[in-house]
């Protein structure tokens, strides 16, 4: 392997690593606030990629059907939760819950054939994918929000199955790849780095910084952190854990949507590519103890790099190598944990 290839692989690893990193952030955010393991983050990423591709090619994304279906179900669910059930109350709820999705659906149908530029398409994709997050939370998790982590994890797996199946229906089984948003590149250390790669890294960094700013500097962010650290205490202070859960899911969906938009031009994406992507983000998140962002960040980059180099040396064994390399890292953590326990 010469230096050029090394640098190319390094670049690839960093690009994928940053995508895993922001996914890991979404997983940690959701887990710390709701104790739900976001198994379907990968699906949201893939949905976002495929929506972006559809919009760029000027076709109306069929994900609007999915959005509509989920939001109608959620609204009906909410209607049956109100006591006493009155026609007026029901209409108010329906209007409140269905107004936004209906507007988005109309916008999607009207705007899609216009073949808008990447930026407008990205904004529309975000607007479509983000409401999926809170809707899924209300439909699948809110009624069992107090259950054990294991039960919640299994419900998340159910959501993963539903989304995968729906993905096949909505997007079909063909893989797609979008042309790069930005052409050209810049020469760094004798290595041509496309603007596209720089875009991914820069946007990921911006998301990380934004998330940090949100959670440490804003009122809503602090409320979210309070719910994460001490749900009961937060409730006593007037912070609704339900609202926090929905907010966490909305944020996570936004992060995943952004990751999906970034991923779309990088590789060919199928409706079921989400699982393995989600798994790698999950691995990084768990290394951070589902709580500690910096570790998850470093591990994400490590996973991306391992993947990059493994695909060069032994492409058929790529996944084996990535997931096997996690084991020694775990053993190292394990040994360290035992060691520090002795001196605790």
């Amino acid at each position: 392997m010469d230096l050029t290839i090394f640098l190319a692989l390094l670049q690839d690893g960093l690009v994928y690593g940053s995508i895993y990193a922001i996914l890991a952030m979404a997983i940690i955010l959701v887990f710390s606030v709701t104790r739900i393991v976001l198994f379907f983050g990968g699906e949201l990423i893939v949905f976002s990629s495929l929506t972006m591709t559809a919009l760029l090619s000027g076709s109306t994304p069929r994900i609007l059907l999915l959005l509509g279906a989920i939001c109608v179900l959620t609204a009906v669910h909410s209607v049956f939760r109100i006591r006493p059930l009155t026609v007026r109350g029901a209409l108010v709820i329906l209007a409140r819950e269905l107004g936004y999705p209906a507007a988005i659906c109309v916008a999607g149908v009207v705007l899609a054939p216009l073949r808008m530029g990447p930026l407008a398409c990205a904004l529309l994709t975000l607007a479509i994918v983000i409401p999926l997050g809170p809707a899924i939370y209300r439909l699948a998790f809110r009624p069992i929000a107090q259950s054990s982590v294991l039960t919640l994890m299994m419900a998340a797996m159910g959501a993963h199955l539903v989304l995968t199946g729906a993905g096949l229906y909505v997007f079909g089984s063909d893989g797609v790849r979008t042309p790069a948003y930005l052409s050209g590149g810049v020469n760094l250390f004798g290595q041509a780095v496309p603007w596209q790669s720089i875009l991914v890294v820069v946007v990921s960094l911006a998301i990380l910084v934004g998330l940090w700013f949100f959670s440490t500097r804003t009122r809503q962010g602090k409320a979210l952190r309070a719910s994460a650290m001490n749900p009961r205490g937060a409730r006593l202070m007037g912070i609704s854990t339900d609202a926090s859960g929905q907010a966490a899911f909305a944020l996570a969906a936004a992060i995943c949507a952004a990751a999906g938009i970034l991923l779309a031009p990088l590789s060919t994406i199928y409706y079921d590519s989400g699982f393995i992507i989600g798994l790698k983000g999950f691995v990084a998140a768990i290394f951070g103890g589902l709580a500690y962002y910096p570790t998850a960040l470093v591990v994400s980059i490590f996973v991306g790099l391992t993947e990059g180099f493994a695909s060069f040396w032994a492409s058929t064994f790529k996944e084996v190598i990535v997931f096997t390399l996690i084991l020694p890292a775990l053993f190292w953590i394990s040994a360290r944990a035992l060691h520090s326990e002795e001196h605790a």
Binding site: A140, P143, I144, S147, L150, T151, M153, M154, A155, M157, G158, A159, H160, L161, V162, L163, T164, G165, A166, L168, Y169, F275, L279, F282, V283, I286, F287, G289, L290, T316, F317, E319, V320, F323, T324, I326, L327, L330, F331, I333, S334, A337, L338, E342, H343, A344
Partner: protein
């Protein structure tokens, strides 16, 4: 229901299940039942591992795969008999589980799950990339299992291999759970610290469960390979592993029979959905997965504790049997050291948390046959001292010596083994067990038999002995009437007494009580003091951390007073009462002067 009627019911149920293939049931249903049985074998292990032991594993499918590939490879390549490969499969899977377990079980929690994911995915991709394993096409032409000239080729005959195996697995598992090792397993989830204080080597117990679940999975894998006659990687993917976990949770991860309910629910849903949906909507494609996912969420909403607990409530099944007390004599009670000799020597221990010195150069002695009180205002370092003695924390300097043996720097289970028994500031009992079983957990060290003997029920005499010991401790503290109650239903006062009974079941040379009177009513405190005096008469040494001065002054022989981690006084209760430093610490400068 009496025991005899219960056994009759179980026997009748088994017979009914075994008769099923003889009735005119369509083969497709028998096939479904075979798959339910195969899944149930794995899920039973998972119920013990995850539901009872609290270790979430995503990799059970990988263990099934290791076994299936082992037998497929050996039978097709070397022509070995399947009966010969069965023990080899169990061995191979067990060894893999042991190696993986040794490295990952110490992590516990999330790290354990991630390790199983990583390992499960690796094994899956490995099956698909190794040339000798036929890449993605897998290994074909696996021979059928044969006995004499008869080959278990047909579904109906294979049924008779699978379901007896499930029955045996259930029997072995329930024997295991009701044994000495089983009580330790049941304490792992959430009460590991308590288990260690009872002398349980939790690492070893966790490994045992991990390997046991893997071996059950290996039996399923062996059967699977010889039923399908072909093995491909897809059967052992991470999704398959998730599905096993799903079965355990849907069924009710805390109950063995939940494994049956969960396997049946998931396998039937999976198998039947496609046909039903095609009939209803005339759709083509993979849409049953949507309905499957939605149904799973719906089941979890309707029965968050699993299907089995709903079945139990609906059919009014009796609660699981609670073990009876026993009158078996104690064969080897420990000899108490001679009254007045030093038992425990604390020599200059110091402990810091960050920059804060919690215990500072503390030294004192506990002598045999006395009750020593350790007192001090809040934050004086009493509990930290307590945890250092019991091995839960390590001091930075100094040493703890117990009967000439260094305790500091060892583990809580070592201290327990040497005869140091403790209670906890917030009473800790295993909520899913009866009072008697909780006390029997304290007698863990009095037994020797391991998991294998427990599964084969070769531990009856020892169990009687342990329960005899536990029964006597409960009688000793006047708790016989609540022996069969659930630990979760006890009042705080009762729970504290049960904790003391559990500590006594260890047959301790030193009894360490952490605020035993906190939260008790006046009458209960007096009764407790009376019981502690009686224990002292019997020669047991007691170290007591307490706040309640009235309770202490009339009870203890000597007092050690701590303030800000430093010993400020030591002596007889009447002297301590007059001590100026103590008065300042407790009541402030003005009154002390």
């Amino acid at each position: 229901m009496t025991a005899a009627r219960k056994y009759a019911a179980v026997a009748l149920g088994c017979a009914a299940v075994l008769c099923l293939p003889l009735l005119g049931i369509p083969t497709s249903w028998i096939t479904l039942m075979v798959y339910i049985g195969l899944a149930a074998l794995v899920t039973v292990g998972l119920v013990i591992l995850t539901g009872v032991g609290g270790m979430t594993s995503f990799a059970q499918a990988a263990f099934v795969g290791i076994s299936a590939y082992t037998t497929a490879y050996l039978t097709t390549r070397y022509g070995l008999s399947p009966w010969l490969t069965l023990p080899l499969c169990m061995l191979a899977t067990g060894v893999c589980a042991l190696v993986i377990g040794l490295a990952t079980v110490p992590l516990g929690g999330h790290f354990l799950s991630i390790a199983t994911i990583a390992w499960g995915v690796s094994v899956y991709y490995l099956f698909g990339t190794v040339e000798a394993f036929g890449l993605n096409n897998g290994i074909t032409g696996v021979p059928a299992i044969a006995v004499g000239g008869f080959e278990f080729k047909e579904t109906r005959s294979f049924f008779y291999l699978v379901w007896p195996a499930v029955g045996l697995a259930l029997l072995a598992s329930s024997n295991l759970l009701s044994s000495r090792v089983g009580r330790a397993i049941r304490a792992l989830h959430g009460q590991a610290e308590l288990a260690r204080a009872c002398g349980v080597d939790t690492m070893r117990v966790k490994l045992t469960v991990f390997v046991f679940a893997a071996v059950l999975a290996s039996v399923s894998g062996w059967l699977f390979a010889h039923f399908q006659r072909v093995v491909t990687p897809t059967s052992f993917s991470l999704e398959a592993g998730l599905e096993y976990l799903l079965m355990a949770v849907i069924g009710g991860s805390g109950h063995l029979y939940g494994a049956l309910a969960g396997s049946a629910a998931v396998v039937i849903l999976r198998g039947q959905l496609e046909g039903v949906l095609n009939g209803l909507f005339n759709l083509t494609g993979n849409y049953e997965v949507i309905v499957l996912g939605a149904l799973l969420i719906a089941i979890l909403h309707a029965a968050p504790d699993g299907i089995w607990s709903v079945v139990r409530r609906f059919c009014r099944l009796p609660a699981p049997r609670v073990p009876e007390g026993s009158t078996a004599p104690d064969v080897s009670p420990a000899a108490q050291p001679e009254r007045g000799t030093p038992v425990l020597t604390i020599d200059g221990i110091t402990k810091r948390f960050g920059g804060l010195v919690v215990v500072n150069d503390l030294s004192f002695q506990v002598r045999a046959g006395e009750i020593l009180g350790l007192i001090g205002p809040n934050g004086a370092g009493k509990s930290t001292t307590f945890n250092i003695i019991s091995g839960a924390l390590y001091p930075e300097h100094g040493s703890v010596t117990f009967l000439g043996d260094r305790l500091s720097g060892r583990s809580p289970e070592y201290a327990a083994r040497r005869g140091v028994a403790r209670t906890f500031q917030h009473a800790r009992l295993v909520p899913g067990m009866s009072v008697l079983e909780n006390v029997a957990l304290g007698a863990h060290r009095r037994g020797k038999h391991g998991a294998l003997r427990a599964m084969l029920r070769m531990n009856v005499a020892e169990e009687l002995e342990i329960f005899g010991l536990a029964t006597r401790q409960l009688e000793r503290l006047g708790l016989s009437s609540i022996m069969h109650r659930h630990a979760a239903s006890l009042s705080l006062g009762e729970a504290r007494l049960v904790e003391i009974a559990r500590a006594l079941a260890l047959d301790p040379l030193l009894l360490m009580l952490d605020e035993p009177a906190a939260g008790l009513r006046h009458g209960e405190k007096q009764a407790l003091a009376e019981k502690l005096r009686a224990l002292r008469e019997q020669g047991i040494t007691v170290l007591l951390v307490e706040h309640d001065m009235g309770f202490l002054m009339s009870l203890v022989n000597r007092l050690v007073v701590l303030n800000f981690g430093t010993k400020i006084a030591e002596g007889l209760p009447c002297d301590i009462r007059q001590d100026r430093a103590v008065q300042v610490a407790y009541l402030g400068e003005a009154i002390g002067a």
